[in-house]
Protein backbone atom coordinates (compact mmCIF):
# COMPACT_ATOMS: atom_id res chain seq x y z
CA UNK A 1 0.00 0.00 0.00
CA UNK A 2 1.30 3.44 -0.89
CA UNK A 3 2.12 5.85 1.88
CA UNK A 4 2.46 9.60 1.72
CA UNK A 5 6.24 9.40 1.17
CA UNK A 6 5.75 7.27 -1.91
CA UNK A 7 3.20 9.76 -3.19
CA UNK A 8 5.53 12.72 -2.56
CA UNK A 9 8.47 10.93 -4.19
CA UNK A 10 6.44 10.24 -7.30
CA UNK A 11 5.20 13.82 -7.50
CA UNK A 12 8.69 15.28 -7.03
CA UNK A 13 10.03 12.98 -9.75
CA UNK A 14 7.32 14.22 -12.11
CA UNK A 15 8.13 17.86 -11.26
CA UNK A 16 11.84 17.28 -11.94
CA UNK A 17 11.04 15.89 -15.35
CA UNK A 18 8.61 18.71 -16.13
CA UNK A 19 10.70 21.61 -14.87
CA UNK A 20 14.32 20.50 -15.27
CA UNK A 21 14.47 17.91 -18.01
CA UNK A 22 11.72 18.94 -20.47
CA UNK A 23 12.87 22.59 -20.87
CA UNK A 24 16.28 21.27 -21.96
CA UNK A 25 14.97 18.88 -24.57
CA UNK A 26 14.74 19.86 -28.22
CA UNK A 27 13.43 16.86 -30.19
CA UNK A 28 9.66 16.36 -30.36
CA UNK A 29 9.94 12.62 -29.76
CA UNK A 30 12.24 13.01 -26.73
CA UNK A 31 9.89 15.62 -25.33
CA UNK A 32 6.89 13.29 -25.69
CA UNK A 33 8.84 10.52 -23.97
CA UNK A 34 9.70 12.73 -21.01
CA UNK A 35 6.11 13.97 -20.88
CA UNK A 36 4.91 10.38 -20.86
CA UNK A 37 7.14 9.50 -17.91
CA UNK A 38 5.84 12.52 -16.01
CA UNK A 39 2.27 11.45 -16.84
CA UNK A 40 2.88 7.92 -15.56
CA UNK A 41 4.35 9.26 -12.30
CA UNK A 42 1.52 11.77 -11.88
CA UNK A 43 -1.01 8.99 -12.40
CA UNK A 44 0.62 6.61 -9.94
CA UNK A 45 0.98 9.09 -7.09
CA UNK A 46 -2.67 9.36 -5.99
CA UNK A 47 -4.16 6.10 -7.18
CA UNK A 48 -2.26 3.25 -5.60
CA UNK A 49 -4.44 3.03 -2.49
CA UNK A 50 -7.71 3.53 -4.35
CA UNK A 51 -6.77 0.89 -6.90
CA UNK A 52 -6.10 -1.64 -4.20
CA UNK A 53 -9.63 -1.18 -2.84
CA UNK A 54 -11.14 -1.43 -6.36
CA UNK A 55 -9.23 -4.61 -7.02
CA UNK A 56 -10.51 -6.24 -3.83
CA UNK A 57 -14.09 -5.35 -4.80
CA UNK A 58 -13.60 -6.79 -8.26
CA UNK A 59 -12.19 -10.01 -6.82
CA UNK A 60 -15.18 -10.39 -4.54
CA UNK A 61 -17.58 -9.85 -7.46
CA UNK A 62 -15.78 -12.33 -9.68
CA UNK A 63 -15.53 -15.01 -6.99
CA UNK A 64 -19.26 -14.69 -6.40
CA UNK A 65 -20.27 -15.00 -10.05
CA UNK A 66 -17.78 -17.78 -10.79
CA UNK A 67 -19.07 -19.64 -7.74
CA UNK A 68 -22.58 -19.29 -9.12
CA UNK A 69 -21.48 -20.63 -12.51
CA UNK A 70 -19.82 -23.58 -10.77
CA UNK A 71 -22.99 -24.32 -8.82
CA UNK A 72 -25.15 -24.19 -11.97
CA UNK A 73 -22.79 -26.39 -13.97
CA UNK A 74 -22.57 -28.96 -11.20
CA UNK A 75 -26.37 -29.06 -11.17
CA UNK A 76 -26.48 -29.85 -14.90
CA UNK A 77 -26.11 -33.60 -14.43
CA UNK A 78 -27.56 -34.32 -17.85
CA UNK A 79 -24.32 -32.84 -19.22
CA UNK A 80 -22.06 -35.08 -17.17
CA UNK A 81 -20.42 -36.36 -20.36
CA UNK A 82 -19.84 -32.86 -21.79
CA UNK A 83 -16.11 -32.12 -21.95
CA UNK A 84 -16.55 -28.35 -21.93
CA UNK A 85 -18.78 -28.40 -18.87
CA UNK A 86 -16.47 -30.81 -17.05
CA UNK A 87 -13.35 -28.85 -17.99
CA UNK A 88 -14.89 -25.62 -16.72
CA UNK A 89 -15.96 -27.26 -13.44
CA UNK A 90 -12.44 -28.60 -12.96
CA UNK A 91 -10.87 -25.21 -13.70
CA UNK A 92 -13.17 -23.32 -11.34
CA UNK A 93 -12.80 -25.94 -8.61
CA UNK A 94 -9.05 -25.78 -8.81
CA UNK A 95 -9.00 -21.97 -8.59
CA UNK A 96 -11.27 -21.91 -5.53
CA UNK A 97 -9.20 -24.61 -3.79
CA UNK A 98 -6.00 -22.68 -4.53
CA UNK A 99 -7.43 -19.64 -2.74
CA UNK A 100 -8.37 -21.73 0.30
CA UNK A 101 -4.93 -23.31 0.65
CA UNK A 102 -2.81 -20.20 0.16
CA UNK A 103 -4.06 -16.63 0.32
CA UNK A 104 -3.08 -14.82 -2.88
CA UNK A 105 -1.84 -11.30 -3.39
CA UNK A 106 -4.91 -9.22 -4.25
CA UNK A 107 -3.56 -8.16 -7.66
CA UNK A 108 -2.35 -11.61 -8.57
CA UNK A 109 -5.75 -12.98 -7.63
CA UNK A 110 -7.43 -10.30 -9.74
CA UNK A 111 -5.30 -11.29 -12.71
CA UNK A 112 -6.10 -14.99 -12.24
CA UNK A 113 -9.81 -14.41 -11.73
CA UNK A 114 -10.06 -12.25 -14.86
CA UNK A 115 -8.35 -14.95 -16.86
CA UNK A 116 -10.76 -17.58 -15.51
CA UNK A 117 -13.69 -15.26 -16.13
CA UNK A 118 -12.59 -15.05 -19.77
CA UNK A 119 -12.42 -18.83 -19.99
CA UNK A 120 -15.85 -19.05 -18.35
CA UNK A 121 -17.39 -16.60 -20.82
CA UNK A 122 -15.98 -18.63 -23.72
CA UNK A 123 -16.97 -21.93 -22.12
CA UNK A 124 -20.53 -20.80 -21.49
CA UNK A 125 -20.77 -19.53 -25.05
CA UNK A 126 -19.80 -22.99 -26.25
CA UNK A 127 -22.52 -24.44 -24.00
CA UNK A 128 -25.25 -22.09 -25.25
CA UNK A 129 -27.12 -24.84 -27.06
CA UNK A 130 -26.82 -27.22 -24.08
CA UNK A 131 -28.09 -24.95 -21.31
CA UNK A 132 -31.61 -23.59 -21.02
CA UNK A 133 -32.23 -20.06 -22.27
CA UNK A 134 -33.21 -18.94 -18.76
CA UNK A 135 -30.03 -20.34 -17.22
CA UNK A 136 -27.83 -18.76 -19.88
CA UNK A 137 -29.63 -15.46 -19.63
CA UNK A 138 -29.32 -15.36 -15.85
CA UNK A 139 -25.62 -16.26 -15.87
CA UNK A 140 -24.90 -13.78 -18.65
CA UNK A 141 -26.65 -11.03 -16.71
CA UNK A 142 -24.60 -11.77 -13.59
CA UNK A 143 -21.36 -11.88 -15.57
CA UNK A 144 -22.20 -8.63 -17.28
CA UNK A 145 -22.82 -6.92 -13.97
CA UNK A 146 -19.32 -7.94 -12.82
CA UNK A 147 -17.92 -6.68 -16.12
CA UNK A 148 -19.75 -3.38 -15.59
CA UNK A 149 -18.07 -3.00 -12.20
CA UNK A 150 -14.66 -3.52 -13.84
CA UNK A 151 -15.51 -1.09 -16.62
CA UNK A 152 -16.52 1.57 -14.10
CA UNK A 153 -13.21 1.16 -12.30
CA UNK A 154 -11.38 1.30 -15.62
CA UNK A 155 -13.18 4.46 -16.71
CA UNK A 156 -12.35 6.10 -13.37
CA UNK A 157 -8.70 5.14 -13.91
CA UNK A 158 -8.83 6.57 -17.42
CA UNK A 159 -10.04 9.88 -15.98
CA UNK A 160 -7.06 9.72 -13.62
CA UNK A 161 -4.71 9.26 -16.57
CA UNK A 162 -6.20 12.28 -18.34
CA UNK A 163 -5.84 14.39 -15.18
CA UNK A 164 -2.24 13.21 -14.79
CA UNK A 165 -1.43 14.13 -18.37
CA UNK A 166 -3.02 17.55 -18.00
CA UNK A 167 -0.99 18.11 -14.82
CA UNK A 168 2.22 17.04 -16.57
CA UNK A 169 1.54 19.41 -19.47
CA UNK A 170 0.66 22.30 -17.20
CA UNK A 171 3.66 21.55 -14.96
CA UNK A 172 6.05 21.69 -17.91
CA UNK A 173 4.44 24.74 -19.46
CA UNK A 174 3.51 22.83 -22.62
CA UNK A 175 -0.25 22.81 -22.07
CA UNK A 176 -2.47 23.11 -25.10
CA UNK A 177 -6.22 23.17 -24.95
CA UNK A 178 -8.04 20.93 -25.21
CA UNK A 179 -5.79 18.01 -24.31
CA UNK A 180 -7.21 15.15 -26.30
CA UNK A 181 -7.83 11.78 -24.70
CA UNK A 182 -5.11 10.21 -26.83
Amino acid sequence: MANSITKIMLERSAETIEQVIIPNLTGAFALEQAMSIATVLRFLAPVVEVESQDVSEENEGMREVLGRVLEVLRGEEALSGNAIRNGLIERLDSEFKKGEVQPQDVREENHNLKRILMETINGLDALTEDLSTDTMSSLRQQIRSVLRQQLDHGVADAAGWIAAHVAARVGSGTAQLPISVW
Partner: protein
Protein backbone atom coordinates in the same frame (compact mmCIF):
# COMPACT_ATOMS: atom_id res chain seq x y z
CA UNK B 1 22.20 9.81 -31.59
CA UNK B 2 24.61 7.71 -33.65
CA UNK B 3 21.67 5.73 -35.03
CA UNK B 4 19.90 8.94 -36.04
CA UNK B 5 23.02 10.31 -37.74
CA UNK B 6 23.56 7.06 -39.59
CA UNK B 7 19.95 7.07 -40.74
CA UNK B 8 20.28 10.67 -41.91
CA UNK B 9 23.39 9.83 -43.92
CA UNK B 10 21.74 6.81 -45.53
CA UNK B 11 18.60 8.78 -46.33
CA UNK B 12 20.54 11.62 -47.89
CA UNK B 13 22.43 9.23 -50.15
CA UNK B 14 19.15 7.58 -51.12
CA UNK B 15 17.38 10.87 -51.91
CA UNK B 16 20.35 12.11 -53.96
CA UNK B 17 20.06 9.01 -56.12
CA UNK B 18 16.27 9.33 -56.38
CA UNK B 19 16.28 13.04 -57.24
CA UNK B 20 19.38 13.47 -59.45
CA UNK B 21 17.95 16.69 -60.90
CA UNK B 22 18.14 18.31 -57.46
CA UNK B 23 21.70 19.57 -57.36
CA UNK B 24 23.67 19.32 -54.13
CA UNK B 25 20.70 17.87 -52.30
CA UNK B 26 21.19 17.58 -48.57
CA UNK B 27 19.10 16.65 -45.56
CA UNK B 28 19.21 19.78 -43.44
CA UNK B 29 16.88 18.62 -40.68
CA UNK B 30 15.40 15.34 -39.53
CA UNK B 31 13.01 15.02 -36.61
CA UNK B 32 11.22 11.92 -35.43
CA UNK B 33 7.54 12.75 -35.07
CA UNK B 34 5.40 11.44 -32.28
CA UNK B 35 2.68 9.74 -34.31
CA UNK B 36 2.48 6.10 -35.27
CA UNK B 37 2.38 2.74 -33.51
CA UNK B 38 3.23 0.39 -36.33
CA UNK B 39 5.64 2.75 -38.01
CA UNK B 40 8.03 5.57 -37.35
CA UNK B 41 7.33 8.91 -38.99
CA UNK B 42 10.06 11.42 -39.68
CA UNK B 43 9.84 14.99 -40.84
CA UNK B 44 12.78 15.67 -43.09
CA UNK B 45 13.73 18.97 -44.64
CA UNK B 46 15.85 18.75 -47.76
CA UNK B 47 17.48 21.57 -49.65
CA UNK B 48 19.07 21.75 -53.07
CA UNK B 49 20.27 24.27 -55.57
CA UNK B 50 18.28 25.66 -58.47
CA UNK B 51 19.13 28.39 -60.94
CA UNK B 52 17.51 31.07 -58.75
CA UNK B 53 19.21 29.85 -55.58
CA UNK B 54 18.71 27.33 -52.77
CA UNK B 55 15.31 25.68 -52.42
CA UNK B 56 13.99 23.57 -49.57
CA UNK B 57 11.10 21.17 -49.13
CA UNK B 58 9.57 19.22 -46.25
CA UNK B 59 9.16 15.48 -46.73
CA UNK B 60 7.54 12.82 -44.61
CA UNK B 61 9.39 9.53 -44.33
CA UNK B 62 7.26 6.65 -43.12
CA UNK B 63 9.34 3.71 -41.97
CA UNK B 64 7.27 0.58 -41.68
CA UNK B 65 8.08 -1.29 -38.49
CA UNK B 66 5.32 -3.87 -38.70
CA UNK B 67 4.15 -5.40 -35.47
CA UNK B 68 7.21 -7.61 -35.08
CA UNK B 69 6.13 -11.08 -34.04
CA UNK B 70 2.86 -9.80 -32.60
CA UNK B 71 -0.30 -11.73 -33.28
CA UNK B 72 -1.57 -8.84 -35.39
CA UNK B 73 0.67 -9.97 -38.22
CA UNK B 74 -0.94 -13.37 -38.17
CA UNK B 75 -4.42 -11.91 -37.74
CA UNK B 76 -4.24 -9.32 -40.42
CA UNK B 77 -1.14 -9.67 -42.58
CA UNK B 78 -0.27 -6.28 -43.99
CA UNK B 79 1.89 -5.63 -46.94
CA UNK B 80 3.80 -2.41 -47.14
CA UNK B 81 3.32 -1.50 -50.78
CA UNK B 82 -0.44 -1.57 -51.50
CA UNK B 83 -1.39 1.39 -49.32
CA UNK B 84 0.96 3.65 -51.26
CA UNK B 85 -0.30 2.30 -54.55
CA UNK B 86 -3.80 3.26 -53.37
CA UNK B 87 -2.56 6.74 -52.41
CA UNK B 88 -1.10 7.21 -55.89
CA UNK B 89 -4.39 6.23 -57.51
CA UNK B 90 -6.61 8.22 -55.15
CA UNK B 91 -4.44 11.33 -55.56
CA UNK B 92 -6.31 13.73 -57.80
CA UNK B 93 -9.80 12.30 -57.21
CA UNK B 94 -10.77 15.08 -54.82
CA UNK B 95 -9.81 13.18 -51.71
CA UNK B 96 -7.01 15.11 -50.01
CA UNK B 97 -4.00 12.83 -49.77
CA UNK B 98 -0.26 13.55 -49.86
CA UNK B 99 1.68 12.94 -53.04
CA UNK B 100 3.81 9.81 -52.85
CA UNK B 101 7.30 10.34 -54.28
CA UNK B 102 8.77 6.88 -53.85
CA UNK B 103 8.34 3.60 -52.00
CA UNK B 104 11.45 1.65 -51.05
CA UNK B 105 10.91 -2.02 -50.32
CA UNK B 106 14.59 -2.81 -49.77
CA UNK B 107 15.16 -3.01 -46.01
CA UNK B 108 18.89 -2.59 -46.56
CA UNK B 109 18.53 1.18 -47.00
CA UNK B 110 17.00 2.15 -43.62
CA UNK B 111 16.52 -1.19 -41.91
CA UNK B 112 12.85 -1.41 -42.90
CA UNK B 113 10.77 -0.59 -45.98
CA UNK B 114 9.84 3.08 -46.18
CA UNK B 115 7.96 5.64 -48.19
CA UNK B 116 8.85 9.23 -49.08
CA UNK B 117 5.91 11.55 -49.45
CA UNK B 118 4.94 15.18 -49.61
CA UNK B 119 4.60 17.01 -46.31
CA UNK B 120 1.27 18.78 -46.17
CA UNK B 121 1.14 21.77 -43.85
CA UNK B 122 -1.68 21.47 -41.36
CA UNK B 123 -2.69 20.65 -37.83
CA UNK B 124 -4.10 17.36 -36.61
CA UNK B 125 -7.86 17.82 -36.41
CA UNK B 126 -8.09 15.57 -33.34
CA UNK B 127 -5.52 17.54 -31.37
CA UNK B 128 -7.78 20.44 -30.60
CA UNK B 129 -7.82 22.24 -33.96
CA UNK B 130 -11.61 22.29 -34.13
CA UNK B 131 -11.84 23.40 -30.51
CA UNK B 132 -9.36 26.23 -30.96
CA UNK B 133 -11.10 27.40 -34.14
CA UNK B 134 -14.84 27.29 -33.42
CA UNK B 135 -15.51 29.52 -36.44
CA UNK B 136 -14.50 26.63 -38.72
CA UNK B 137 -16.34 23.90 -36.86
CA UNK B 138 -19.33 23.52 -39.21
CA UNK B 139 -17.16 23.42 -42.31
CA UNK B 140 -14.75 20.93 -40.74
CA UNK B 141 -17.58 18.53 -39.85
CA UNK B 142 -18.91 18.88 -43.39
CA UNK B 143 -15.46 18.15 -44.87
CA UNK B 144 -14.95 15.21 -42.51
CA UNK B 145 -18.19 13.52 -43.52
CA UNK B 146 -17.91 14.45 -47.18
CA UNK B 147 -14.44 12.92 -47.57
CA UNK B 148 -15.65 9.64 -46.09
CA UNK B 149 -18.69 9.63 -48.39
CA UNK B 150 -16.39 10.37 -51.36
CA UNK B 151 -14.08 7.46 -50.51
CA UNK B 152 -17.07 5.12 -50.38
CA UNK B 153 -18.36 6.56 -53.65
CA UNK B 154 -15.13 5.99 -55.60
CA UNK B 155 -15.33 3.57 -58.49
CA UNK B 156 -12.59 1.27 -57.24
CA UNK B 157 -12.74 -0.93 -60.30
CA UNK B 158 -12.08 1.96 -62.67
CA UNK B 159 -9.27 3.15 -60.41
CA UNK B 160 -7.72 -0.31 -60.69
CA UNK B 161 -7.93 -1.10 -57.00
CA UNK B 162 -9.09 -4.70 -57.39
CA UNK B 163 -5.58 -5.76 -56.37
CA UNK B 164 -6.64 -5.06 -52.78
CA UNK B 165 -8.63 -8.26 -52.95
CA UNK B 166 -12.37 -8.71 -52.75
CA UNK B 167 -13.72 -9.87 -49.41
CA UNK B 168 -15.34 -13.26 -49.38
CA UNK B 169 -19.10 -12.88 -49.37
CA UNK B 170 -19.34 -15.66 -46.79
CA UNK B 171 -17.46 -13.39 -44.40
CA UNK B 172 -14.57 -15.78 -44.02
CA UNK B 173 -12.15 -12.88 -43.62
CA UNK B 174 -14.25 -11.45 -40.81
CA UNK B 175 -14.39 -14.78 -39.02
CA UNK B 176 -10.60 -15.04 -39.32
CA UNK B 177 -10.20 -11.53 -37.93
CA UNK B 178 -12.48 -12.30 -34.99
CA UNK B 179 -10.50 -15.47 -34.26
CA UNK B 180 -7.35 -13.30 -34.34
CA UNK B 181 -8.88 -10.83 -31.88
CA UNK B 182 -9.71 -13.77 -29.62
CA UNK B 183 -6.12 -15.01 -29.75
CA UNK B 184 -4.82 -11.58 -28.74
CA UNK B 185 -7.20 -11.54 -25.80
CA UNK B 186 -6.24 -15.04 -24.69
CA UNK B 187 -2.50 -14.68 -25.25
CA UNK B 188 -2.19 -11.39 -23.47
CA UNK B 189 -0.41 -12.16 -20.22
CA UNK B 190 -0.30 -8.61 -18.91
CA UNK B 191 -3.94 -7.68 -18.73
CA UNK B 192 -6.68 -10.33 -19.09
CA UNK B 193 -9.69 -8.89 -20.90
CA UNK B 194 -12.97 -10.53 -19.85
CA UNK B 195 -14.92 -7.62 -21.35
CA UNK B 196 -13.32 -8.36 -24.68
CA UNK B 197 -14.25 -12.03 -24.34
CA UNK B 198 -17.89 -11.01 -23.85
CA UNK B 199 -17.78 -8.67 -26.87
CA UNK B 200 -16.26 -11.42 -29.00
CA UNK B 201 -18.94 -13.96 -28.14
CA UNK B 202 -21.51 -11.39 -29.29
CA UNK B 203 -19.63 -10.66 -32.51
CA UNK B 204 -19.35 -14.31 -33.47
CA UNK B 205 -23.11 -14.70 -33.28
CA UNK B 206 -24.01 -11.51 -35.15
CA UNK B 207 -21.91 -11.38 -38.33
CA UNK B 208 -23.88 -9.51 -41.04
CA UNK B 209 -23.61 -9.77 -44.80
CA UNK B 210 -22.32 -6.61 -46.51
CA UNK B 211 -24.87 -4.79 -48.67
CA UNK B 212 -22.24 -3.24 -50.88
CA UNK B 213 -18.47 -3.27 -51.29
CA UNK B 214 -16.52 -0.03 -51.45
CA UNK B 215 -13.04 1.27 -50.88
CA UNK B 216 -12.63 1.63 -47.10
CA UNK B 217 -9.94 3.75 -45.46
CA UNK B 218 -9.84 1.40 -42.47
CA UNK B 219 -8.70 3.94 -39.86
CA UNK B 220 -10.91 6.97 -40.38
CA UNK B 221 -10.79 9.27 -37.38
CA UNK B 222 -9.85 12.79 -36.38
CA UNK B 223 -6.24 12.03 -35.59
CA UNK B 224 -5.59 10.92 -39.14
CA UNK B 225 -6.82 14.18 -40.60
CA UNK B 226 -4.94 17.46 -41.10
CA UNK B 227 -6.68 20.82 -41.26
CA UNK B 228 -5.52 24.25 -42.34
CA UNK B 229 -7.41 27.55 -42.70
CA UNK B 230 -10.66 25.92 -41.68
CA UNK B 231 -10.59 23.09 -44.22
CA UNK B 232 -9.44 19.49 -44.13
CA UNK B 233 -6.31 19.34 -46.28
CA UNK B 234 -5.07 15.76 -45.80
CA UNK B 235 -6.27 12.31 -44.88
CA UNK B 236 -3.34 10.20 -43.66
CA UNK B 237 -2.51 6.67 -42.50
CA UNK B 238 -3.93 4.45 -45.19
CA UNK B 239 -2.24 1.32 -43.88
CA UNK B 240 -5.56 -0.45 -43.27
CA UNK B 241 -7.12 0.43 -46.64
CA UNK B 242 -9.21 -2.40 -48.08
CA UNK B 243 -12.27 -3.26 -50.10
CA UNK B 244 -15.18 -4.07 -47.84
CA UNK B 245 -18.38 -3.00 -46.14
CA UNK B 246 -18.41 0.82 -45.82
CA UNK B 247 -20.17 0.35 -42.48
CA UNK B 248 -16.75 -0.67 -41.13
CA UNK B 249 -15.43 2.88 -41.67
CA UNK B 250 -18.59 4.42 -40.27
CA UNK B 251 -18.54 2.16 -37.20
CA UNK B 252 -14.84 2.89 -36.63
CA UNK B 253 -15.41 6.60 -36.92
CA UNK B 254 -18.46 6.50 -34.61
CA UNK B 255 -16.46 4.63 -31.97
CA UNK B 256 -13.87 7.42 -31.99
CA UNK B 257 -16.58 10.06 -31.71
CA UNK B 258 -17.78 8.23 -28.59
CA UNK B 259 -14.44 7.98 -26.80
CA UNK B 260 -13.17 11.49 -26.78
CA UNK B 261 -14.33 13.49 -29.75
CA UNK B 262 -17.96 13.96 -28.76
CA UNK B 263 -17.31 17.70 -28.94
CA UNK B 264 -16.51 17.49 -32.63
CA UNK B 265 -19.69 15.91 -33.85
CA UNK B 266 -22.71 14.22 -32.36
CA UNK B 267 -23.10 10.68 -33.75
CA UNK B 268 -26.70 11.25 -34.88
CA UNK B 269 -25.70 14.32 -36.87
CA UNK B 270 -22.69 12.51 -38.29
CA UNK B 271 -24.87 9.65 -39.56
CA UNK B 272 -27.51 12.00 -40.90
CA UNK B 273 -24.91 14.04 -42.78
CA UNK B 274 -23.32 10.87 -44.16
CA UNK B 275 -26.67 9.57 -45.39
CA UNK B 276 -27.32 12.89 -47.16
CA UNK B 277 -23.88 13.10 -48.75
CA UNK B 278 -23.51 9.43 -49.70
CA UNK B 279 -27.15 9.03 -50.69
CA UNK B 280 -27.46 5.75 -48.82
CA UNK B 281 -29.23 4.73 -45.63
CA UNK B 282 -27.06 3.58 -42.73
CA UNK B 283 -28.39 0.26 -41.47
CA UNK B 284 -28.28 0.68 -37.68
CA UNK B 285 -28.01 -3.07 -36.97
CA UNK B 286 -24.99 -3.49 -39.18
CA UNK B 287 -23.58 -0.29 -37.77
CA UNK B 288 -23.86 -1.76 -34.25
CA UNK B 289 -21.89 -4.81 -35.37
CA UNK B 290 -19.16 -2.67 -36.90
CA UNK B 291 -18.94 -0.45 -33.84
CA UNK B 292 -18.30 -3.53 -31.71
CA UNK B 293 -15.70 -4.67 -34.26
CA UNK B 294 -14.12 -1.22 -33.95
CA UNK B 295 -14.02 -1.52 -30.16
CA UNK B 296 -12.51 -4.99 -30.25
CA UNK B 297 -10.06 -3.90 -32.97
CA UNK B 298 -8.95 -0.91 -30.93
CA UNK B 299 -8.54 -3.03 -27.82
CA UNK B 300 -6.48 -5.51 -29.85
CA UNK B 301 -4.19 -2.81 -31.23
CA UNK B 302 -3.91 -1.33 -27.74
CA UNK B 303 -2.96 -4.65 -26.16
CA UNK B 304 -0.35 -5.32 -28.85
CA UNK B 305 1.08 -1.81 -28.46
CA UNK B 306 1.10 -2.13 -24.68
CA UNK B 307 2.91 -5.46 -24.94
CA UNK B 308 5.44 -3.93 -27.34
CA UNK B 309 5.90 -1.00 -24.94
CA UNK B 310 6.54 -3.33 -22.01
CA UNK B 311 8.84 -5.75 -23.82
CA UNK B 312 10.82 -3.35 -25.98
CA UNK B 313 14.35 -2.48 -24.95
CA UNK B 314 13.75 1.04 -26.22
CA UNK B 315 10.08 1.51 -25.34
CA UNK B 316 7.98 4.34 -26.59
CA UNK B 317 6.78 5.49 -23.19
CA UNK B 318 3.53 6.81 -24.62
CA UNK B 319 2.34 3.26 -25.17
CA UNK B 320 2.51 2.64 -21.44
CA UNK B 321 -0.02 5.26 -20.48
CA UNK B 322 -2.07 6.06 -23.56
CA UNK B 323 -3.60 2.60 -23.83
CA UNK B 324 -4.53 2.17 -20.14
CA UNK B 325 -6.30 5.50 -20.61
CA UNK B 326 -8.05 4.55 -23.84
CA UNK B 327 -8.91 0.86 -23.46
CA UNK B 328 -11.40 1.16 -20.57
CA UNK B 329 -13.23 3.92 -22.40
CA UNK B 330 -13.50 1.79 -25.52
CA UNK B 331 -14.73 -1.22 -23.55
CA UNK B 332 -17.20 0.98 -21.72
CA UNK B 333 -18.61 2.46 -24.94
CA UNK B 334 -19.00 -0.99 -26.52
CA UNK B 335 -20.60 -2.48 -23.40
CA UNK B 336 -23.14 0.33 -23.29
CA UNK B 337 -24.04 -0.36 -26.92
CA UNK B 338 -24.79 -3.96 -25.94
CA UNK B 339 -26.74 -2.91 -22.88
CA UNK B 340 -24.36 -3.48 -19.98
Amino acid sequence: MEKAQDMRRRLEAYLKAKFPQREELSVVEMDQLTAGVSRENYLVTVSWLEAQGPVSEGLIIQVELGFGDSVLVEMEPREFGPQYEVLKRVYGTGIPVPKVYCVEMDSAVLGHPFCVMEKIEGEVLGEGYYFLHPEYHTQLVKDYVEILAKIHGLDWQTLGLSFLGLPEMDNQRLETAIAGFQRVAEDNQYSPQPVMAELLTWLKRNIPQPERITLCHGDYHLRNVLARDGRIVALLDWESVHLGDPMSDIGWSCMFLKIGYEGFCDETKFLQAYEEMAGVKVDRERLLFWQIVAAVGLITVGLAALKAGIESKEPDMRQLWIWPMVLPRVGDAAARLLGF
